[in-house]
Symmetry: C2
Subunit: 315 residues, 2 copies
């Protein structure tokens, strides 16, 4: 989904390569439309639309994955399929919604073996079935690289979607699982989207904001801070990680959920979570009044650091 937040202003640059995908998205956002039934437009994990007369809202998202960028050539196709649909279900989960319909555009080179494509569908269907989503259409076209463009919808009670913009000063910051080392471990291909967790968290009524972690905790949290108008203080030792704290902050493609809850409700939420899932819901920091400022153990994290990082790795 178009999420549109970037720190740098690069007005003088003009090609897509110069300005980067995030800046391109930021510039595209004002060109998108508005409508009374469009409750939340581009800028969150999903757009949220009113389904008048049903008591439900419908969420919409799309994500492309491209050979050589999001997966290696001739990667195990079942894993590629899992990742393609999993990313979209992770966006749906980040709103607290139940997955619904999926459409897939495939672009593939003519020399691609059809059985490879069949196995991609096998991977996509497997993760769909796990969460009640169904592939109902799409298209196939030939192009130089293998690409999967997955569109997904979800449903949830009207006005209950968990947004990036709902965090308040003083809220506790929590994360649903360990972060970092997603590439070398293969987690970025094999992850299970946190659909049940997203629904549980939305139904708890105790969560003030939520998003999924795809670009790394530092980058993604900064989006939440900007949209909520708050800052954040993270405690490095509390961040669950598969490697170092730096990896947890910058590696990306974790597909865990990042959320906030008021300090009064956090103990209850963590206890309910533990009772339901049998695991911890780690508390990793606090929202501060310093709008947009991200701190780790009392030290300000410059945005430069992870912008540089993100320009080296385009996920």
């Amino acid at each position: 989904m178009l999420k549109g937040t970037v720190a740098a202003t690069v007005e003088c640059m003009s090609t897509l390569g110069e300005i980067g995908e995030h800046e391109a998205i930021k510039r595209i956002l004002p060109m998108l439309g508005n409508h009374t039934d469009l409750a939340v437009g581009a800028g969150d994990d999903c757009a949220v639309c009113r389904l008048n007369g049903t008591g439900s809202d419908q969420v919409f998202t799309t994500d492309p994955i491209i050979e050589g960028v999001h997966f290696l050539s001739m990667e195990n196709p079942v894993r590629v399929g899992n990742k393609a649909v999993g990313r979209v279900l992770s966006d749906v989960a980040a709103m607290g919604a139940c997955p619904q319909w999926i459409l897939v555009n495939v672009v593939a080179p003519p020399e691609l073996d059809f059985p490879y494509l069949e196995k991609i569908y096998q991977g996509m269907n497997a993760v769909c079935q796990k969460f009640g989503a169904i592939i109902i259409g799409g298209d196939v076209a030939q192009g130089p690289l293998l690409e999967l463009h997955v569109f997904g919808t979800g449903l949830l009670p009207a006005e209950s979607a968990l947004l990036r913009s709902g965090a308040n000063v003083g809220d506790c910051i929590l994360v649903t699982g360990p972060l970092g080392d997603s590439y070398s471990s293969g987690h970025h291909l094999d992850f299970v989207p946190k659909v049940e967790e997203g629904i549980f968290l939305r139904e708890s009524g105790l969560v003030t904001s939520m998003m999924d972690l795809s670009d790394g905790l530092a980058t993604d949290l900064r989006h939440m801070l900007k949209q909520s108008g708050v800052g954040a203080q993270l405690k490095g030792a509390s961040i669950p990680t598969h490697g170092t704290v730096e990896q947890a902050l910058f590696d990306g493609e974790d597909f865990e959920l990042l959320l906030s809850a008021s300090p009064e409700h956090t103990a209850q939420l963590r206890s309910d979570w533990n009772h339901h899932f049998g695991t911890e819901l780690p508390l990793i920091g606090t929202m501060t009044p310093h709008s947009g400022r991200l701190e780790l153990d009392g030290r300000v994290l410059a945005s430069k650091a992870f912008e540089h990082f993100s320009s080296e790795k385009q996920h």
Copy 2:
């Protein structure tokens, strides 16, 4: 949308280039899911899903357009945008639905000038606004060729969608406008999707089947015949064309609507159409009992003819 009809069986071939996109789609169709709320799955212009409790159905479709296949490099970007969204609105129109939400994934090479992309959005927004559709999201990624993957939804009264499968033996075959010569005339870039016409035809209650014309009358009508279990007899002299009858049959990308109506209702339908739009609704043939057989002026049109054609031109 996955429309899945191809005459040849090419089981021994295995790469996408060998089997072609239509055969790939045909093989993918059985891998897609099913659900009680999924009224019409892949195989029509749109998938149709029940919106329980609303009295409405929601339709879903997606179409990719790729540089060098669907438009030339550095084509006027406003026209490229018109085509990208226009194709999807044409699919929505083919069901008789009102366009609703649009999401767009852009893949573009790093050297693409951002102002070019802005003008694509200008073209997409212009055709959206004409028909009440709104771009609510999408994504941007870098790749070797410019591609636009457009996903669209629409709404219509429950169980009123006009399908490809509804034609009966004896029905009249009609088309909403002249066909052929779409490439050299630029019509394939500048066309206005027949949204108002599709809604009018659905509301008439007199249409038995409908689809949009994107691959050429001969190829597309054959899909309708297969899905309706009927044949067709076309009268060459009655087919409205911008060039020859052959062009009308085989050129493709007309984005007119092809429909059928019972012989008892056709005069009424054509008269209502003329009254409403001030134009003719040409009657070009009749549905016959010879399932799958397409005849032109009494002569059977072999499927080979346009299969060969379609393998030369991949639209």
